[in-house]
Subunit: 366 residues, 4 copies
């Protein structure tokens, strides 16, 4: 099936393999009139660029975005925006081994089973580089949402056993792990050094906070805002869990502590005294911040010896060499934010048709 | 937006409100030739029927399913299957209060904000009764999957602080909480009695195990099998979290412990020595059991006093009377299973077009 | 595949067979706040009701619509609107013959080939009664569009060789053939009498004019307004052709005569001096009336002897008895109008997200 | 809305403007294992390349296709196939005039109304060059269908008043007008010379015949095969009408002449004695050839003087200079064929899930 398209109104289609000619995305349905240039995209892509710290792959890629269509005189025209990052570091090397065995924790076996064969060079389509298209599109969605005062704060919440215990938004960009707590970041780096010595890798958790989203966004039943966020986040390779608001902790809570009381603010607005819900009630935004978390598994590519099988049906042992991140989490932060932005953007556009009075108003004015 | 449709090939559309004329579902895209009768549906619906224990709402509903189309001579014809459960217990009573204030933890406020007004009788469309359509459709999907040897085991994993510590599948239907551990079930009932005395409610966790699914099902990138399961499960009201395989625990793990080794079985099949992945690699089923969990928040309707606001913009106090479940979890078990069956069924059908050789074979034979 | 759903935002799903329990439709995505009652639906359904003249089937059906959900206090709530017409005239009779052979011009053979068997009673799902769901939904779409000043005039343009030569909108409802020309209607009735004597049937043409649609509706490339109208109209059984504006005549024209000049009206508006385009340029409405035509084939059920085959692979001769329309066209007029209304309604809602400035305005106000 | 995506399973998304960096397409959902190279695409693109005769625009473009993803070791991998044609002939010239007025018969006015502004260079997204993406994708669909013995014959049926009166398939590629009748082609060329002298243009008709399609393809109700073909064809700019089989002539026919009798062939197959239906009954292929026609309007860009308006609201006169086709039809032949191939391919893949017995077979074997 066609699995590389996401969204209903603000719809993206990504393409490309790790060691093919490039990675790209087409955004179809971006409203006309948004000022947009390649720098807007690059700022986002740079947050996931490899080689920025010793905790990420040392592959050399500038990951420069090029916009091929959909912009005229500096603005989106309403027609498809095609963007591409051409791959540079396509070292010609011997892929013979990897073609014939199945790496544990990777999609090698499942791709072969599904399609009969696979592009095994660097993981092909199931490589982390696939997310470049998501991030390029997410940058556009985020810029559009910013026009309406909606903003995203996304960061590493934990790495292995190390969790943040304070929150300083300014700190996030100051450490290579994108943690909002410098002391936790330091401890996490020590933990990662140990992992690397052991030829091992670590998992972690990412949290995303969305502010400025008005109440009323999202749809009941199957298109709940949190359901779509869950799909968006789980669609990122290596994500194994999603929770919104109190999430799994709510399973242990009682109604009296988990319910958020409403109250009238000084300015007469309806607000919630707490935010156990994470900003969504009945699948529709409630005006509080959207707060969700993603659980990321440890990088499956590790240098220590592992048992597996080859295509000849033999049990073998392998150890994976090459350029791999001991931790995916820091580079995945901007991917999580991008998927969230795409989801929110689509929901916001879809919501415009909810009420007849507003539709009539819209057409009277325009 | 049209939020009441789920699936691509095996597509369902649900309709109906808690206190309207009825609740229904249309399945469009069910393959022709499946033997199906109303009893198949009823068996599933009975698992979510109210009034079966003192831990569920005492509302009296037989919830009898009627099939209105799509079946001829006992078999599905390939055309839409329309099913309806007419509401019986529509007590005419004074809804005046509930119309004017917003219950904490409910969708009252968000529906009003989105649509301008709402059907406030019994929660309207955001009532738990909305899931009747899902379960009726899930029964059909599950029966179809059973033809291919795919089966579901779904149960309550925890209620408040009480978690199962043993697993006996035969026990699941033997206690009102659908727990596979009679001793845990007993403790959980005691805990619920305490909740009820305190006019409070409890959250809990549901686990679902899917066996018999061949490797290769699900699609890369945005239509990953686990991403679609996450959306399906989060689309159920009151679900606040989803995890597959080791889930959130994977965030604390290392690659060497989290990776599942492949090995060749005695019969020459490729298999995994462990199942930390929960049966999915790269979004595609890997031949192991699919294992996932859902976190369910406590019932928001509680009898103790709560602070909230009314539509006149005043801070008020309320206490909710009426027929409410102190725990949603046991009745949600079959809803989780239904959504999983619908997701798997759709993915299985979509997978048939993955390989040209199999497509050519298919058309040569037919 | 799931073929019974139409639309993106204003989405309908129809179900039901000719001789099953009933025929229905679920509208998902209808905006909240539209005043709606069963009479609104009935007015439309009555235009396609059988037994109204000697040129339509004499089957006795009141075709009474019942609304089962989605309305509260007389208004749409934004949640799915489920409507049903229960079948009354389900005469129990011997269907043995029809089960075993394939009627020329009908879908008997293609359904059997596709699904392995079929509900042969009265044509099952491929009966003209399937359009009841379309018309019930079309009534809602048309009422919604009327709020924005958009109206439909649909009528029979020709029957067999008899074409209208004058146009009086008030005449349309005055003759059983829905022709806007009483003299042509008289001639057409004479022609039909001849057909009936010869145990034969006649084709015809329907024209639809849509007024009040603002310029800018419809989307470029694959979702052109005329492309979606074409699909909507060809999806009606028996329609064999669609043309917009000058249609097939444009194939014989030259650019200088086919182009519509723009000019500035006395009130300063941009308008077109002619309307060869039929109200659409580049797939987007241009502010002129939308004008399109549908070609309807003759009723395939005729009483004269026909050659065909049976399921045993034998060449046989049949003659079809029973209640059949010698002409489908008059009853199809409201079906064409309904499909047009559904298409326009969906396009109008989709258009709200085309421009960033209007989106920002929308969210500032709401 | 996102209007640049077509198809459900075999899904394409096109992008690009006439004078932007390039034109491209992403195919998502192409089955794995199809041998594919750039030459396969080029063969199709060459059929619509400009500058091949004096009846097409003299713009110089080699229109060379490049495949950027989705192919490994010469075969499709099941992941997105991204293809691009970079624009070469982007003469920098003064577009000032065209930016400020609305060309009759073009989408200038409707784009401005919808989006607030437009990329006016060469028609931007509404240029005929947009079809490059369709043709590149159509080449892939056609190659896939060829594996199953399904083939397409598409040709010019008429140009202005000149219609073919004989049919020689080998002649189609022998004349610049793609007519299967050399004598008609000669007359049509004379007619076009006259048009050019008069600074005028001509419309015409295209016919497409699809052979080898098995019975049973297409879906009832809204996803009828002919309805989807109609949408596909009307989505091509300049197409004003679509008819299948006898089409509009059926509106004048009687049932006894329009019905196609079934009979048993010498080899025991069910077949039709005639093909008035054009190969579709009830929206599902009936095993006969699919035959449909498209009406193409005259090129709106003509050199003679025309009345129109400018953006300042003034009535003006213009005459359009530059590189324009006096007739679109010959170059549109391959576009029509491509859209038909995409539609058939999608329907064929969707049909695989119609019957439970075949699904069970499929999974037992694989």
């Amino acid at each position: 099936m066609a699995g590389s398209t996401f969204g209903n109104i603000f719809k993206i289609t990504t393409w490309g393999e790790s060691h093919g000619k490039g990675i790209g995305v087409v955004i179809d349905g971006c409203p006309a009139g948004l000022a947009l240039c390649e720098e807007d995209i690059q700022t986002y892509l740079d947050r996931r660029k490899p080689g920025q710290s010793r905790y990420t792959t040392q592959r050399k890629e500038s990951d420069s975005a090029e916009i091929l269509s959909g912009i005229f005189e500096g603005k989106t025209t309403g027609t498809p925006i095609s963007m591409v990052v051409f791959n540079q570091d396509q070292r010609s090397r011997d892929y013979g081994d990897i073609a014939n065995y199945y790496r544990p924790g990777h999609a090698d076996y499942t791709f072969d089973t599904k399609y009969g064969f696979r592009d095994y060079r660097g993981g092909g389509r199931s490589s982390g580089r696939e997310t470049i298209g998501r991030v390029a599109a997410g940058a556009v969605a985020a810029k559009l949402l910013a026009q309406m005062g909606i903003s995203f704060t996304t960061y590493t919440k934990s790495i292995g056993p190390v969790e943040i215990s304070s929150f300083d938004p300014d700190e996030i960009g100051q450490n290579p792990l994108y943690m909002p707590d410098s002391s936790a970041a330091k401890k996490a780096q020590e933990y990662l050094e140990d992992c690397m010595k052991l030829k091992d890798s670590s998992g972690g958790m990412i949290e995303c906070v969305i502010e400025g989203l008005p109440a009323g966004i999202g749809d009941p039943v199957f298109e709940k805002l949190d359901a779509n966020l869950a799909k968006a986040i789980l669609s990122i390779g290596a994500v194994k869990g999603f929770e919104i608001g109190d999430g799994f902790a709510a399973a242990h809570a009682s109604g009296s502590t988990n319910n958020d009381s409403f109250y009238i603010t000084d300015t007469g607005e309806t607000a919630k005294a707490t935010n156990h819900s994470g900003g969504v009630l009945g699948g529709i935004s409630d005006g509080s911040s959207i707060v969700f978390r993603a659980a990321i598994k440890p990088t499956p590519s590790i240098a220590s010896t592992q048992k597996t099988v080859n295509k000849s049906g033999e049990n073998i042992e392998i150890s994976i060499h090459g350029r791999h991140d001991p931790i995916i989490v820091p580079r995945a932060v901007v991917v999580v934010e991008s998927m969230a932005a795409l989801t929110i953007c689509d929901a916001l556009l879809l919501n415009m048709t909810a009420r007849l009075d507003r539709i009539c108003d819209f057409y009277k004015k325009s």
